[in-house]
Subunit: 206 residues, 2 copies
């Protein structure tokens, strides 16, 4: 009764919200139950790269067949090659009990909501616009123009927070807290009655 | 941005599932964020009882007015007095950030689902029918006939597990684990985007 299926977990948020650091912390703390999504690509493997670890290496024909068959959750092209998230490989990992993290843009997140209703969508929010701007300035590498553009974009993106399932606030110095909050959300989701169909029948069988 | 409203938390489960012990553990571990629902009653206060602590003591006329006005979530009568859960007092506590536990029967749970859509419904399940039966026998006070009846009732009740929001399994010796799982569920629920309407606006105001 306790073998839980893993859950696809979409993580999005504006530039500077700290989502990359939070995801790293989550993977470090829970290496056995969380993993990053492995993309499929049509580019050739480089030395040291392994099929199924860095990428799933497939042919262009196979990639296009999968797009047509609606087997790719979301994809993009870069320097003449396809990159995308294959459903089958994603589901093989969730079947093994692994929660698969997709750190993607909001547009991709909204696509996954439609294509993969069992996914959980988490939006990472800095504590306030002021703090987000201070963080972007603190990076030192951004010009005033850059910061203005990123803040405008953040403003547009944050409107989508309410279309996600959960909102996690990345407080100052709160990376570990935010990572643990995502882990908690996923553990709670695994107890949803809707994810445990047939539990009453199994109760009497065991 | 962090002051969270409390959530009404319905806890149900068959006789012998251990819900009473789990609720006690939860209240002990989180005395500031979890509290038991305080019922309203038309009976007179006894020595030492305080309005708003043991019960809300109200008149029969007031109780009946509240029933008619749909201000009582669920109620029953006992020895000529009304006992019920008043909405207003419940919401005063959730406004203060307190998660209010309602340890009630499935019928009451299903009523609260309709009357109070923000409530979270948690169903407590023993690990298996065999273990439930062993627990009932272990109490020593139940006759074979008793146990047979309770198992039949449990069978009917457990079918409702899938109508609840979450299912928590009370493993052998797992009272603390089950209590913490309920606390996690409530913390995750507080991060639901649907419970944080207007978060994007507040983000830019602060």
């Amino acid at each position: 009764m306790n073998m839980k299926k893993g859950i696809p977990v979409v993580i999005s948020g504006p530039s500077g919200c700290g989502k990359g650091t939070i995801v790293k912390e989550l993977l470090k703390k829970y290496p056995e139950t969380f993993a990053l999504s492995v993309s499929a690509t049509t580019r050739s493997p480089r030395v040291g790269e392994e099929h199924g670890r860095e990428y799933y290496f497939i042919t262009k024909e196979e990639f296009e067949r999968r797009i047509a068959a609606n087997e790719i959750l979301e994809y993009t092209t870069y320097v003449g090659n396809y990159y995308g998230t294959p459903k089958k490989e994603l589901y093989e990992r969730t079947e093994q009990g692994i929660n698969v993290i997709l750190e993607i843009e909001i547009e991709g997140g909204m696509n996954i909501r439609k294509l993969c209703p069992e996914a959980v969508l988490v939006f990472i929010l800095p504590p306030s616009a002021k703090i987000l701007e201070a963080r972007l300035r603190g990076r030192g590498t951004n010009t005033d123009e850059d910061i203005k553009n990123r803040m405008t974009r953040a403003k547009e993106e944050i409107l989508y927070a309410e279309k996600y399932d959960y909102v996690v606030i990345n407080e100052e110095g709160g990376v570990e807290k935010a990572a643990e909050e995502i882990a908690e959300i996923v553990r709670a989701e695994q107890k949803k009655a809707a994810r445990n169909k047939g539990i009453a029948d199994r109760f009497f069988e065991e």
